[in-house]
């Protein structure tokens, strides 16, 4: 089995990559990517998987003649919710409470974890089953439960692979996208027996057999579990309902078998009204799994008599979201519905992989969300806004029209601004000098003259008539490591224009 080499590992396993105060910092994106790019198995796994999902999404989106209207509607619904968030949160709380749910509020990860752990203790729960949830990944709830002596079982297949493999998610929707079938088989054979029903001894790497092994392994846990933890895809203010969108049925198991259910919900998950679901339930499955509708969607409002959990709790989580909301540009990222379409189309994500982003939110949306939630004090969080070629594929795929490239530029500005006033980096000095040069064309012309003279020399017989340069001195060797560089021409365009009057004079009729 390959070792994941990125990140500083905790004593007990994978690194902290949540949005918590225990986050200690990871290598920058570029350093982590340098390593992950050499992981040939992961490169192949990701290229294959993202290719498949891109095609599926394109096919189901192409079926609709009103996709762009749906995107505009989804954007407006989320903006309405965010721009009156205080009112909608209060409305949601009121309705959910009236339906029998208990609503808690958590300022940060520690507070949310404390609420969940206290509830589990009050119920004397020894273990909890979990529906895949980004919010609980973000607060590192599993670690908090473990510290309290409570086992937390991830039940989504990919999350199970990640948990059993002592790994961490590299994708929002498919957290084990970096693993292939034979790696999954190895993990199941090795780890399942340590925590419950062992994997069948004759397990092959056929995906249906692997899925069956997960079914058997988790079934006993579902049937005995008394306490479940979920997130939610949407929280409907008008009705106080929560919505969970899933595929495997593990969500339904957790949401309907145990007696106690706690849902940790980011405050940005609110949508104003019931009818808004008609838009959101069209855009989400198509953007995430590339399906017209995902296999299972569960909607519940408080507790239902004689059906499912009777003790229903909701933890409304801030954990940095209100800071994001305060940024008039950056707040657009709160529209995100965690579909991961931007990851699947991102050429940087496809090659570097999710772990290089050093956060449970990888890919383009992670690059704009993580530094806003965690702040930009660590090196990794400063590097994330630069982890993009700004190609714009993410914006085109985003069902809620988050202009991720513009947000990336906005955050780059923030990183630069935060460094102003201190000792300037070489880059800042170079930028300042170039800015000064471009303020006046005469300065630029002078610089061109120098470059052209250099170019002329390099092209001379004396220096071997160079047309391209194969090696450049630092820091330009970042370019020439794999790319040749052109030798500057001996005459710039503007010199040519002046000399030939824009090509109207022949070479023999030079001016001056």
């Amino acid at each position: 089995m390959r070792e994941r080499t990125t990140g500083t590992r905790q004593a007990d396993g994978h690194p902290h990559v949540g949005i918590t105060t225990t986050f200690l910092g990871m290598p920058t994106f570029q350093e982590a990517a340098r390593v992950s790019l050499t992981d040939t198995v992961q490169r192949r796994n990701l290229a294959h998987a993202t290719g498949v999902i891109r095609e599926k999404r394109a096919a189901v989106v192409g079926e609709l003649d009103n996709w762009e209207q749906l995107r505009l509607a989804a954007e407006a619904i989320k903006n309405r919710a965010l721009f009156s968030l205080d009112e909608y949160l209060v409305e949601f709380e009121e309705r959910a409470t009236a339906a029998g749910a208990t609503v808690h509020w958590a300022r940060d990860a520690a507070e949310a974890n404390r609420i969940v752990v206290d509830l589990a203790r009050a119920k004397q729960a020894r273990e909890v089953v979990k529906v895949k949830s980004m919010a609980t990944q973000e607060i590192e709830l599993n670690e908090a439960l473990q510290a309290a002596g409570i086992d937390a079982w991830e039940t989504d297949l990919a999350e199970l692979i990640v948990q059993l493999g002592d790994d961490w998610p590299s994708h929002i929707l498919v957290p084990a996208i970096h693993r292939n079938r034979s790696e999954v088989r190895e993990i199941f054979l090795r780890e399942m027996k340590k925590v419950g029903r062992p994997a069948p001894e004759d397990l092959t790497d056929d995906p249906p057999r692997l899925a069956e092994a997960a079914r058997l392994h988790l079934r006993e846990k579902f049937l005995r579990a008394d306490f479940a933890v979920s997130g939610a895809n949407f929280a409907i203010a008008e009705t106080g309902s929560l919505v969970v969108v899933e595929s495997e049925g593990n969500g339904r198991m957790c949401l309907s078998l145990p007696r106690t259910l706690v849902s940790v919900v980011g405050i940005e998950k609110v949508v104003p009204s019931w009818r808004d679901l008609e838009v959101m339930l069209q855009v989400l499955p198509r953007s995430s799994t590339g399906e017209r509708e995902n296999p299972y969607t569960s909607i519940w409002t408080g507790g239902a008599e004689g059906d499912g959990p009777q003790d229903v709790h909701i933890v409304l989580l801030d954990n940095g979201r209100t800071n994001v909301l305060a940024d008039q540009v950056g707040r657009a990222a709160l529209r995100c519905i965690r579909c991961s379409a931007c990851l699947n189309v991102c050429p940087v994500y496809e090659r570097a992989g999710g772990h290089a982003y050093g956060s449970i939110y990888p890919g383009p949306i992670g690059a704009v969300l993580t530094p806003q939630l965690r702040g930009t004090s660590s090196e990794i969080d400063q590097s994330l806004p630069y982890a993009s070629s700004l190609c714009g594929a993410c914006f085109d795929a985003c069902p809620v029209r988050i202009d991720i490239p513009s947000l990336l530029v906005h955050l780059r500005t923030r990183v630069v601004e935060e460094h102003r006033g201190g000792v300037p980096k070489p880059e800042a000095l170079a930028m300042k000098a170039a800015g000064w040069m471009f303020a006046d064309h005469r300065r630029y012309e002078a610089a061109e003259k120098i470059a052209s003279t250099g170019g002329k020399a390099l092209r001379s017989p004396l220096l071997g008539r160079k047309e391209v340069l194969r090696q450049l001195p630092p820091p330009l060797n970042a370019w020439s490591g794999a790319r040749d560089a052109p030798v500057p021409p001996s005459e710039s365009f503007r010199s040519w224009w002046k000399r030939t009057d824009g090509g109207r004079l022949g070479p023999s009729e030079e001016r001056e």
Binding site: F29, Q30, A33, R34, L37, P347, V348, R351, A352, Y386, A387, S388, S389, L390, C391, G392, A393, D396, V409, L411, R412, T413, R414, V415, V416, E417, M431, K432, A434, G435, W436, M437, F438, A439, D440, H441, Y444, E448, S452, V468, R470, L476, A478, W479, G481, A482, R483, D484, P486, P488, P489, E491, S492, F493, R494, W496, W497, K498, G502, G503
Partner: protein, 257 residues
Amino acid sequence: MSTTSPVAATGLRVALFATCFNDLMWPETPKAVVRLLRRLGVEVEFPVEQTCCGQMFTNTGYLDEAEPAVRTFVRAFDSYDAIIAPSGSCVGSVRHQHRDIARRADDDRLLDRVEALSPRTYELSEFIVDVLGVSDVGAYFPHRVTYHPTCHSLRMLRVGDKPLQLLRAVKGIDLVELPAADQCCGFGGTFAMKNADTSIAMGADKSRHVRDTGAEVLAAGDNSCLAHIGGLLSRERSGIRIMHLAEILASTEEDPS
């Protein structure tokens, strides 16, 4: 070739924005634009005050440093009816970023001028197809060519297939489709340096797709992307040369590029 284009007939003043990168490193491209437009009956002027669109600063997060470039751009081109640049990326910056920089500078007069100027700034293929209404520029280029559409032309300016319309009409050309054409080549401005490894990994796939077409020439509307892919193709001794779209469109039987 007709010399009475709509632009010539209306007496519009048209300026060439060569862009700093082309001016210094790829002068053949703006020269080709001058030849091509002249053939189509449009005499461009080259305001010497021009320098750079400022994109490199903006996209790296140095908005204060971008401001002088924006002011210089406005000063150079304010008096023209149309500004043409052989770069989707630089035009994208003018149209989508100059406004933000003017706002940040808190200068209403600058903002007004920027907002008036942005819609008059065209990428070459947009100007030829949309403004001149021409899709056959009468070019001749008897080579096997594949075309990389470049992200900012595609997704910022939404030029669609305008460059391909122009290329398809070129006499003698053997135009072959580039697989996964809409995928970024990995240049991305300072991304190519800051994240060199990822940039090269992306470029390696692009260059493989280019080689798979069997083309002699890789064309695009942006010399920055071409410098990156071309740098890889050259290092690989692939025998494929890069050419800006303008140079192919400027090529004729009498005066081949």
